[in-house]
Symmetry: C2
Subunit: 145 residues, 2 copies
DNA sequence: ATTGAGATTTAGAATTATTCCAAGTATTGA
DNA sequence: TCAATACTTGGAATAATTCTAAATCTCAAT
């Protein structure tokens, strides 16, 4: 667990390069901040933590770095999308598919399935609701490709 | 499918009452708007559609109505939460548990499971990523209860 | 090492989504 | 009918995110 540092920056450099993105000290620093406390911080929290080791970093850069990390597959965004909340009057069990191209959100019916059974949580957690969402290309957009 | 109207308002009235909320023409109208086009509109879109039949309705009321509908279980919010995006450097397959009480987000490891196999989508959809998120009480908060 | 092209960072303005507020209005139960 | 309370409204306020233009950095080719 110690010396995760170099591993981190090497992996980061490769990953970024693979996407045509450049490795920068800010990106590495932001990544390190994320690795340090695994508590799913908001961009604002990342900003505040990042400033400790890099006082001049700006909020815009934090967003930029987070985007870069997401693009190169080192970080996940925990939310369906960063835009407005959407509303759905279908209360049957189902999940959602959001098209990355056209932005449409589709209902996907749950297969007969034993999915429900599989959604087990560790002891102590008391789940009330859950949501499954997928992203990718919808039939229309997949065709135009 | 026709005459869904009265059914709609009856159900609405009961549901609202059960939560100590009052039935109002605005709430019914907003619900009707949601039932009309099942395309997961944003609050802004609901507002624009609602204005057609109720020109004086305000954006604040639309938000209020949507909240009421969500509270009484007739509508779902399609997003983990309406606050800031969160970032997670854990790229292993896992899902998230968000505590409604303290707001913390936990990683929940995927059980060995055949969950993956169950995530089938209808023909034509090309999923790239998916996310499973649950909400409820975390172990700490569940205890203090 | 130098250099030029293009990517990145920065601060702050702008935009977008959502919530708050105070005043007027509607609904409920007595 | 009346009082209490919830709801609606328009607009202001806040919060999250994106945009902008100028300065700086990185890369790859000299």
């Amino acid at each position: 667990m110690r010396d995760q540092g170099n591993q981190c920056s090497e992996q980061l450099g490769e990953r970024l390069a693979a996407r045509g993105l450049r490795p920068t000290v800010q990106r590495e620093h932001v990544y390190r901040v994320l690795l340090q406390d695994r508590d799913h911080p908001t961009a604002e929290q990342v900003f505040m933590r990042a400033k400790k080791g890099m006082p001049d970093i700006s909020m815009a850069t934090v967003y930029n770095c987070l985007d870069a990390l997401v693009k190169c597959g080192l970080v996940k965004e925990v939310n369906v999308d960063r835009a407005a909340m959407r509303y759905c009057p279908n209360m049957h069990e189902h999940w959602h598919f959001r098209c990355d191209n056209c932005g449409a959100v589709y209902d996907i019916d749950l297969p007969p399935s034993r999915l429900r059974l599989e959604l087990k949580v560790p002891k102590g957690f008391q789940p009330k609701t859950y949501e499954i969402s997928m992203r990718g290309a919808c039939p229309n957009c997949a065709q135009d490709n």
